[in-house]
Assembly symmetry: C2
DNA sequence: TTACTTGGTGTAAAGTATGCACAAAGTCAG
DNA sequence: CTGACTTTGTGCATACTTTACACCAAGTAA
């Protein structure tokens, strides 16, 4: 370590994680209400320091696990934020991630860094200030999701294993913030042979029940290896 | 700072910059030959610690400036690399950037962190091991460039202000690693009205001289604000 | 049995992308 | 000065992709 000046070790590195969920046609984000200074009482992204012997991805996964109990969740690094004044207590550089989880299946735990955690509708959040530069981070992560979802079949990570095409369409509409044509959407989705019809129907709905589908990941990967390129 | 444990300040944060240039139909990267341990004698990406009062983008720009004398260069953050063992002397997390420069206009300076710096053809580099995890970083940055260039008109950053359509085509072919059809390429490029014909011709070539064009950034921005979306 | 709600389906027209070959404009060598 | 050489610049026909659009079907509830 001799060549390193000690000055370069006065910076702390953290991870912040924008955890997206989808429920009742709304995109949601899992936020914590800050209980300590600074920014007490404001919503903030869940995040923590990266441990000395921990890879960055692992830190992001740990935060998610502590908060939700979930493992093996879709996780993607977006960008690193490190403006000099972004943390009032010192130089803190943070690596931003987003993750996609199936909300309804798991409750949210309180944890060491989260006195109170809650799913908040993205739309409600549009004009609420978050702690630190978390507005900016959230926006960057949402944009990353928007782009990513057009070109990788990751939407399914937000839905239960069995879903209807209408649910899938609503999900895409929420992410892309655009309306999609039903017939064209279904045509496109079904032309990709990895979204398979389960020959099952919804139950307990007060109208014509929809057919259920599932995403067949191994088929998708086979097509990719044959040169297929997902594009919505 | 009371709430921070000192443990979290044992990590150093650096920036590494993949500087791309283009000359004679080849994509090049500006690398430095390491003069000190570890990895003495290997090629490495130019990089440095982020100073205490310096934003991350500023650190990337500084490295580029020290090495080339250039300012206001195209610079984009790609991803942060921080695997626990990536630096043999301690925990070093690095934020990777790529930048695009017009190679031929400026020579390369030696500098504090670069005893010897040189433009290396990307193709020659394919099977040469770089220091640290710089192979991986280079690959990630090249992929980022590949994707970016399809959707933002950044190719021009690598060309002189006046260029021929053949030069532009060769540039895209080098980045995309694919051959493009001459007529279709020209049709597409010229249909975007921000690549303007200067009514000038090449001089001193031993064949029919090509017309010169320039990229009109303000026209491009006007079109973007009217809803135009670059796509190659 | 009727009203209500959401599901599921096809076609025509417009626009976009692709594949392809030859004359034009200059330099250079003899 | 002419012919060979090199690279530029151009258009059309075809296949493919995208878009716009409306009505019957299947179930529940009153």
């Amino acid at each position: 370590m001799a060549e390193f000046s000690q000055d370069f070790f006065k910076t702390a590195v953290t991870v912040d994680n924008v955890i997206f969920g989808f429920d009742e046609s709304d995109l949601k984000v899992l936020l914590i209400k800050r209980g300590t200074e600074p920014y007490t009482g404001l919503w903030a992204l869940p995040g923590d320091f990266i441990y000395a012997q921990e890879n960055i991805d692992a830190a992001a996964a740990r935060i998610l696990h502590e908060l939700t109990g979930l493992e093996k969740v879709y996780l993607e690094q977006v960008r690193t934020f490190g403006a000099v004044g972004r943390h009032p207590l010192g130089r803190v550089i943070t690596v931003a991630y987003f993750s996609l989880v199936k909300t309804n299946r798991h409750d949210v735990h309180a944890s060491s860094f989260a006195q109170k955690a809650e799913w908040v509708n993205l739309s409600e959040l549009r004009h609420v200030a978050l702690a630190f530069d978390h507005d900016e981070i959230l926006e960057a992560c949402f944009n990353a999701l928007k782009q990513r979802v057009r070109v990788r079949p990751i939407g399914f990570e937000l839905l239960p294993p069995k879903f209807t095409l209408t649910e899938l369409q609503h999900l895409y509409e929420a992410i892309l913030e655009a309306e999609l044509d039903k017939r064209n959407f279904r045509k496109k989705i079904l032309s990709m042979d990895f979204i398979v019809d389960l020959n099952e129907s919804q139950e307990g709905v007060a109208h014509r029940p929809a057919r259920l589908y599932e995403f067949d990941k191994s088929k998708y990967e086979k097509f990719v290896s044959e040169g297929f390129n997902f594009e919505l």
